[in-house]
């Protein structure tokens, strides 16, 4: 059995644009779930609203496609009511960091036994490319036509500070690393948060000089910096490029968690 067997083949091809990273992230997550040996009948995928949140509809398990920003609150109910179910949450940057920001920090605080995969494409894709809380300063979108002026959220730092047991960041280019990170998340009791930098060629790339899908992949490949290297540069007081995407595992700990089968 491979990860492809977890898909609802009758619903493919999916609605995502050509070159959208969401499909890649879906593959990697399913590959991790498959490697973990989870039973599809005992696994629930939960999501909110947005491009990323369409993912559970393509997976042949029980799946809950909820309201904007509330995926983690719904997932909390599912997991607490039946801790024997395996629950994975797909969410996006607008869903998680903007409208669902409060649920995010509280889910991390409760440290509830969920795995949260955030497809962070730096933009609201479904509604046509508006700026989100993770849009970097200077980036163009339909609501930041002169360049984003608000500072962006660092979701990883937020999750670490709020108390999640496992936090990692990768990009959609790092498929094997991402698969392993998700698998570590599935194995870790407590909340596991994996931020995945995703490419949105249609709405983000087109406006920000990353017009081709392969440009975005190349961008992820060249701008990513392993956390170990980043830490070393900082420790040595050497300069770190401001647009570096620091990837790797940021925390793994075993603080008390909720919703774990005793």
């Amino acid at each position: 059995m491979s990860f492809a067997d977890w898909l609802r083949a009758d619903r493919l091809p999916h609605i995502w644009c050509s070159g959208c990273s969401n499909g890649t992230i879906l593959n990697c997550t399913l590959a991790a779930v498959e490697a973990e040996g989870w039973d599809p009948d005992r696994t629930v995928f939960v999501s909110g609203i947005g491009c990323s949140s369409r993912a559970p509809g393509y997976i042949s398990t029980d799946s809950l496609h909820t309201t904007h920003g509330r995926a983690l609150a719904f997932a909390t109910g599912v997991k607490l009511a039946d801790p024997s179910l395996n629950v994975v949450v797909f969410t996006g940057d607008g869903d998680l960091a903007a409208i669902g920001g409060n649920h995010f920090i509280h889910a991390c605080r409760r440290n509830i036994d969920l795995t949260v995969v955030c497809m962070n494409n730096l933009i609201y894709g479904m509604t046509g490319g508006q700026g989100s809380p993770t849009t970097p300063i200077g980036a163009l979108s339909t609501t930041t036509p002169y360049g984003a002026s608000e500072p962006a959220f660092d979701l990883v730092a937020l999750a670490v500070a709020a108390g999640a047991n496992h936090v990692a960041r990768w990009t959609a280019y790092h498929v094997r690393e991402l698969e392993r990170a998700v698998q570590t998340g599935l194995e870790t009791p407590g909340l596991s948060f994996i931020e995945v930098r995703a490419g949105c060629p249609t709405n983000y790339g087109r406006k920000n000089r990353l017009r081709e899908v392969t440009d975005l992949a190349e961008y992820f490949r060249t701008k990513s910096m392993l956390k170990a290297k980043f830490d070393r540069l900082v420790a040595e007081g050497r300069p770190v490029p401001s647009d570096a995407i620091v990837v790797g595992e940021f925390v793994r700990r075993s603080n008390p968690a909720m919703g774990v089968v005793p």
Binding site: R8, R11, P40, D41, R42, V44, V46, P56, G57, S60, T61, D62, S63, L64, H65, T66, T67, R70, A73, F74, A75, T76, G77, V78, K79, L80, A81, D82, S84, L85, N102, H103, H106
Partner: protein, 362 residues
Amino acid sequence: MQGNTASAEGAIAAGCRFFGGYPITPSTEVAEAMARRMPKIGGVFVQMEDEIASIAAVIGASWTGKKAMTSTSGPGFSLMLENIGFALMTETPLVIVNVQRGGPSTGQPTMSAQGDMLQCRFGSHGDMAVIALAPDSVQEMYDLTVKAFNLAERFRCPAFLMADEIIGHMRERIELPDHVDVVDRRPLESGHLPYEAGEDGVPGFPVFGTGHRVHVTGLTHDERGYPVTTDPVLHEALVRRLVGKVENARREIADYRVTNPDAEVVFVCYGSPARAVQQVVADHPDLGLGILRLRLVWPFPEHALAEFPNARVFLVPEQNLGQVAREVERHVLVPVVSVPKLGGELHTPAELLRAIEEARSR
């Protein structure tokens, strides 16, 4: 026992094993009672970060097959509206206890009101039919909470217990029955699609983790549960079924009490104002007054108004500016007089008598 506590006990008797809530006056005692009781009976109590999260968790829990509820008051209920629509669309059984207080906005947190009667009926976006009950005593806080669960499970929709601060905080002696009739949701039979409804319009429930691999979405969906958002015929059929399954059962689930059906002057009331009305009617048997007391307000039991063939006028005392009075007006040809009372206190007998006088002189 206090009204709010009675509601919690009723929920437990009805089989509720999940409570997600957020503190809000004057409903907090429901959550407090649940926090004490749930861990002892193998249930789950969780205090969420806000009312939106509360109802979200309740919906999530309901999909694992647990009977689930939350309690709140007006401001919290307003926050829940979007997810109430989600529960209606996905046909998720759950119960919301709304102990109403004075509004708009923060209003009068510790005073009684019935200002959410239309909010619960029409508040979420799109066309919908809801079930709303209104208790007028602590005993009914218990009984009608049980009934709310039974109706929610039977029709796979949210059911509201629209209490008010007076009933919620009142203490009365009540009788806890040894046995309550409990309705459990019908599981989805294998071989059926998840949203394939029977004649009553209610599909079987595919509990998460039982191998149905159902996709639950708030988008317009087909019988498989897959999103189909651009088919006008399918959307209309779905919305009509969701509304019809409740509205068509209007007579069957109607719950009201008739006093003196020969009366010419008839009070239509629900919730705490019914207590003042009952007092006035008992004190003045010579006035020939009748009462239609609604224990279930939505779907509105319009046929109940025909129980008073001699009625010349209907008086509707409410702790709002006439929200249900308007609904009564739609269904009768004789005058309907709204008797509003704002501010959080009950109608006094004198006020009701004055309303009777004015109605008679019309």
